[in-house]
Symmetry: none
Subunit: 259 residues, 2 copies
């Protein structure tokens, strides 16, 4: 047995057995999955520690092997565990599950990289823009608050960011001071807007004269163009469209892909 001591799995199984609710409308496999996930996230099960086998779950919880199996299989596709034929099921490393599908603000992104985030406001105005509206699937008359900012990392210009936020959803945003402040934080705290998902595209480009001046690089230098269309928690209502131009020599975008 690979666990730290022989009774570790037994104690875990007993706990699971007590919490499993056969009267609940939630499927058994889902309950088992959630119970195991909680223990992994709370750190009760440590990386590379072995989980109960399908057989052990079957006996201890009084479910069929296929039910136990489904719980473990879903934990695997969600990145919480890895499975090896002939060996068992083991807790995955935390970094596998973190950098995955996270929607982060510039501020959070910089902090995660160990840099001090900042923002210098170039201009803020309420306006219309047919192309942006079309891109968001809205009527051409839709009004936006356009915020243009230079984003700083440790005080140095890193990106030029132009955000179009739907004015109808955050009245008075144009009067907020967004210097050195996270737009997402403002949307969340002042307007109680929950962000859900975002569609983001990345491509390479060359700095225009304006971009070069703001970012303090030569015209024509490589830049990373990132466009993001962000939706509210319901997954359908668009809230903002952001176009960012990052210095190519100082910024690298990182994603983790899964099969």
């Amino acid at each position: 047995m690979a666990a730290s001591h022989p009774h570790a799995v037994d104690a875990l199984l007993e706990g699971l057995g007590r919490e499993l609710d056969r009267a609940s409308p939630l499927p058994l496999y889902y309950q088992i999955k959630e119970l195991l996930r909680e223990r992994i996230e709370r750190g009760e099960l440590r990386p590379h520690e072995r989980l109960p086998s399908e057989n052990e779950l079957e006996r201890a919880l009084g479910v069929s092997r296929m039910t136990a199996r489904r719980a473990l299989a879903e934990l695997e596709t969600e990145g919480y565990v890895y499975r090896e034929q002939g060996r068992g099921t083991f807790v995955a490393e935390p970094k596998l599950r973190q950098s995955l599908l996270r929607l982060t603000s510039f501020t959070e992104d910089m902090r995660a990289r160990g840099l001090r985030p900042g923002a210098r406001v170039l201009d803020v105005r309420v306006m219309r823009d047919e192309r942006v509206a079309a891109r968001m699937g809205l009527e051409p008359e839709e009004a936006f608050v356009r915020v243009r900012r230079v984003r700083l990392a440790d005080g140095q210009p890193l990106a030029l960011e132009t955000a179009y936020v739907r004015a109808a959803l955050c009245p008075g945003l144009e009067a907020e001071d967004l210097t050195d402040r996270s737009l997402y934080q403002t949307l969340r705290e002042r307007y109680k807007l929950q962000l859900g998902r975002a569609e983001q595209t990345l491509e390479a480009g060359a700095a225009t004269e304006f971009e070069a001046q703001v970012l303090r690089i030569p015209v024509g230098q490589p830049v990373l163009l990132i466009e993001r269309l962000t939706f509210l928690g319901d997954g359908r209502t668009p809230i903002e469209f952001v176009r960012s131009v990052y210095r190519g020599d100082r910024y690298k975008f990182v994603v983790e892909l899964r099969r």
Copy 2:
């Protein structure tokens, strides 16, 4: 029946039945999944069209319902279809499939964009590279099969791809013909290597003389540099490191971010 005409499903099932190979070492559910996926990607099954039900697959292919079910369930988690209880299984909209944060090969990526993928091999050799080995967390003596290819979209050069695959895990790879073939498919089918996850970075750069020549663009044009470190199904064993240089004017990377 919601299909265009009553015999559409029958014809599909007959085709599937002929292609299913019970002597193959590949699992039945996997074969069924791949056959259906091919038909979706080739457009033979159009968005929102109904797929055969679990019961129809069971009868027509002579498999159990759980096997048919698993094929459909995996297509769902991969974003190819959506399922509605009481109604059936339907082809998903293309945009839903391509924007998920999935580990895809160039071949799959191009097909999802409706382009014809291709590859022209520049050179293949077995070699060592300390920097690549370090990047993969391996000993400096580790041997790699380095494959340099020009990746084509509809016959036009789109990217220069340099892949370093661990020679120990795929002996004889250097003798394979990788012209117009997916490396991932070869790893999967010839070497039975299951890919798990990948860590990928994207940054902007300018085309070097060599890159410019291969991609048929002027020197210094913007390019998207993508580096990918791919791991096997266990999530820990590195298998390949790929450095790709994409034409900045023709390629856009799409991701969907959550929460």
